[in-house]
């Protein structure tokens, strides 16, 4: 997610007072709502009704991501460069809440009358390791992961538009090479629930997440003498103003994202994902200019080939991405900060890093079966081994990306 806090990184009392006085941008709010209404009406007329609910869930995710500034990318970097662990601990909390909510629903789906749903599982092997490492590297240069790229684009960040364009290009390239990567050593998905049972799988995951959170807090305490209580901080501008205008406590963001991921599972039949749509959009563009995608093995597989032939309005991932973009735009309008991150002129270094980061993320997301959301968040929330391996390898790639950032003109 975004490395630059879209609601401004300043959290001093003075800045909070200015934020509290900031007016709602009526034009941006009205435009975002009109966009949601128009797209919703099109979906209602032309697509199954569940896509309409998924558009709204996507919009809710966009609002939550923007208002909580829930940053995976910045959280990882802050732990490495500043030894601040708030972001990482918030992510462990998010994964813990999602584990408690989603693993039992998947484990007892039949008893709950949800027999058609399935978790996010994926193979474990060379493709996953290489892909997630590349993704972690790219997210530090690109300035955000899949959701971070989308919600900052929705909030009007021009640099992230470049990242998104490169992300799409990298994703298409990834679809070209994924079959070769799948032929390298690897094995079928490992579902911890199948091996251990629901309760032991939940207990094991919570224990690992708690141990990681404790370790991250220990690193911060050793370097700063105390742990910053960012997760549980009280809203600075009153509850109602904070809810609508932003600067949510991280706890609110974690709860909202986990609950909306559960809602996605129940409505769509599988948990939240983002990056399949990027490859699809790129493939549709190539197809529109005359490239025969039927020659690419990836686009002959059942799901991708059907998605390529069909409308974006029925593609679940695309519909949710559209909702996320418009939800983030709505939130930025409520906060009076639309396009604020683009005030400074772009120089060559940040543009080059956006391109390199976007390409690495796009290619990595296809090889690694998703991004921080589809592979890590939804993978771990489904008790899939691949989610944990994705997390470890992407963090390793992130370390390399963080080292490279200053050479590309980016601050750490």
């Amino acid at each position: 997610m975004a490395s630059v806090n879209p609601t401004s990184a300043t959290t001093s009392p003075g800045a909070a007072a200015v934020d509290g006085a900031r007016r709602v941008d009526g034009f941006v709010v009205a435009t975002a709502l009109a966009g949601l209404a128009l797209l919703g009406a099109l979906i209602w007329l032309e697509a199954p009704i569940d896509r309409l609910w998924l558009l709204l869930i996507g919009a809710g995710l966009g609002v939550a991501l923007y208002h909580a500034a829930f940053g995976f990318t910045a959280g990882w970097r802050n732990l490495v460069t500043k030894r601040r662990s708030g972001g990482m601990r918030a992510q462990m909390l998010l994964l813990g809440i999602a584990t408690v909510l989603i693993v039992p629903v998947l484990g007892f789906a039949g008893e709950l009358g949800l027999a058609g749903i399935s978790g996010t599982l994926a193979p474990v092997g060379t493709s996953l390791v290489v892909g997630s490492f590349l993704f972690g590297f790219g997210m530090q240069l690109g300035g955000g992961c899949g959701s971070g790229t989308l919600f900052t684009v929705g909030a009007g960040n021009v640099r992230m538009v470049i990242t998104l364009a490169a992300f799409i290009a990298g994703s298409v390239l990834g679809t070209m090479h994924l079959p070769w990567w799948l032929d390298q050593p690897g094995f079928d998905p490992v579902n911890l629930v199948t091996g251990l049972g629901v309760v032991p799988a939940v207990a094991l995951q919570l224990a690992v997440l708690a141990a990681l959170a404790w370790w991250f807090a220990r690193i911060e305490r050793r370097h700063h003498g105390a742990v910053d209580r960012v997760i549980l901080r009280r809203p600075e501008n009153g509850w109602a103003a904070t809810l609508f205008k932003g600067s949510w406590p991280l706890l609110w963001g974690a709860v909202a994202l986990a609950v909306l991921n559960l809602a996605t599972l129940v409505v769509a039949g599988y948990p939240w994902g983002i990056t399949f749509a990027f490859g699809l959009w790129g493939a549709k563009i190539l197809q529109a200019v005359g490239v025969d995608m039927a020659h690419w093995e990836f686009w002959t597989w059942d799901y991708p080939s059907l998605a390529l032939k069909d409308s974006l309005l029925v593609n679940i991932v695309s519909v949710m991405d559209f909702g996320l973009l418009l939800g983030a735009m709505l939130a930025a309008g409520m906060a009076g900060r639309f396009n604020r991150a683009s005030r400074r002129r772009l120089s060559a270094g940040p543009v080059a890093s956006a391109v390199l980061g976007g390409l690495a993320m796009g290619y990595g997301a296809r090889l690694g079966f998703g991004c921080n959301i589809g592979a890590m968040f939804s993978g771990i929330a489904s008790a899939s081994l691949h989610g944990w391996i994705w997390f470890a390898c992407a963090f390793a790639g992130s370390l390399l990306g963080i080292r490279l950032r200053p050479r590309m003109g980016l601050e750490n």
Partner: protein, 69 residues
């Protein structure tokens, strides 16, 4: 308190309108639009859970690829 706007309203509307046109153009050329227009024998992607797939993107399982090979 007056606030300086950080964007051009026309540019925002033009970008969103362009995206809407692209989505509509894609939809008009899609299987779902053909089905909604009364064409028979069209396969849509309404049910997107491919039970034989091993990943959300529809990738097959490594064990199946070894078998194919």
């Amino acid at each position: 308190m007056t606030q300086r706007r950080d964007y051009s309203r026309w540019r925002v509307l033009a970008v969103l309108f362009g995206l809407l046109v692209l989505i509509l153009a894609d939809h008009i050329n899609s299987a779902t639009f053909a089905l909604n227009s009364g064409q028979g024998g069209v396969e849509t992607s309404y049910s997107q859970l491919d039970e034989s797939a091993c990943a959300p993107c529809g990738a097959p399982c490594p064990s199946r690829r070894e078998g194919d090979g």
